[in-house]
């Protein structure tokens, strides 16, 4: 436990020095803000850009509040996931490349401690950033479109956070397979996209695939209650993440380190 805390603290210090604790939350806030704002000003934007024939008019219906929040989530799913995978691609891989990992593991630090502490440090950063981004989006949605209860926001944060933890687990797993950070980032993105594609193709079989967290969250927001499917999907996602972490630790053990 003490070792875990030491590695964890070192990792936190490192992300502080890298300014990760400043820029990652800010990026998520930006992503969260952009959709409520641009949706709200869409009519003005279209008008000022022009190009419409004289007399042409079309009404853009104002979307319901939860749809706008979902737009922000979609934003996190694309650019947010991209930022996370690029940010975490050097997590372990670059330390193996530069030899820092060897220095750490020469001391009696277990592989499992090393990997899980790094995973936890990244997760805390990402969850805090996601919360900041969601809070910003929620505030603007409440201001411009209509009410969404704070409890729903918390539920959205919890369930969507699981998806991002899943992405981090994939990244850590890839970190154990490859030494080149760029390759790790690329493979992480490929695997996340693959998860989404497979889920879309086998939609009728894979009821509880991690990629279905978003649709279930949308259902929760519009209907107001948390469905059994959402819980099941959440459990499956947690399970897969833990399995990925275990696989990462296992590959580290068997593989020659650095």
């Amino acid at each position: 436990m003490m070792q875990f805390l030491t590695v964890f603290k070192r990792e936190m210090l490192e992300s502080g020095r890298n300014f990760k604790w400043i820029w990652v939350p800010l990026v998520f806030i930006l992503l969260g803000l952009s959709d409520p704002l641009s949706t709200y000003y869409l009519p003005q934007i279209i008008e000022s850009v022009g190009g419409l024939p004289e007399g042409a008019s079309f009404d853009i219906p104002t979307p319901p509040p939860h749809d706008v929040l979902m737009m922000s989530l979609a934003q996190f799913s694309q650019l947010g996931v991209l930022v996370i995978s690029l940010m975490s691609m050097g997590l372990i891989a670059s330390e193996r490349k530069s030899g820092v990992a060897e220095l750490v593991l020469v001391k009696p630090v277990k592989y499992s401690t090393y990997v899980s502490a790094k995973w936890t440090a990244t997760s805390v950063l990402v969850l805090v950033s996601l919360f900041a981004g969601l809070l910003a989006s929620w505030y603007y949605v409440n201001l411009l479109f209509g009410d969404i209860s704070f409890l729903h926001l918390l539920a959205t944060w919890f369930f969507y956070g699981l998806w991002l933890l899943f992405v981090i687990s994939i990244s850590v797993f890839m970190n154990s397979l490859f030494k080149v950070p760029g390759l790790v980032g690329f493979m992480t993105i490929v695997l996340v996209i693959l998860t989404s594609i497979v889920t879309t193709v086998l939609n009728h079989i894979l009821d509880w695939s991690p990629a279905k967290l978003s649709p279930y969250i949308r259902m929760m927001l519009s209907e107001g209650n948390i469905s059994g499917d959402l819980w099941a999907t959440a459990l499956i996602t947690i399970g897969i993440s833990i399995a990925l972490l275990a696989a990462a630790i296992y590959t580290f053990r068997t593989k020659e380190m650095a």
Partner: protein
């Protein structure tokens, strides 16, 4: 364009501008302190200064050496 500027509620947009400024300043501070970047260092200065929003983010994600 003038109409657009009047119709926009600047209190709503202000946080966006502030965040973008903070990102830019932090990126600049880091740029001054860091020894080497991926690619020519001076190039990143222009990217940070000239590309709004995306410039500082690109710098943090790609420009900093992963060490």
């Amino acid at each position: 364009m003038a109409e657009l500027f009047e119709s926009v509620n600047w209190a709503l947009i202000a946080p966006l501008i502030v965040i973008q400024l903070i990102l830019q300043v932090v990126a600049l501070i880091d740029w001054f302190r860091i020894e080497r970047t991926n690619g020519p260092k001076i190039m990143w200065l222009f990217i940070i200064l000239l590309l709004n929003m995306i410039g500082p983010i690109l710098y943090f994600v790609i420009g900093r050496r992963q060490e």
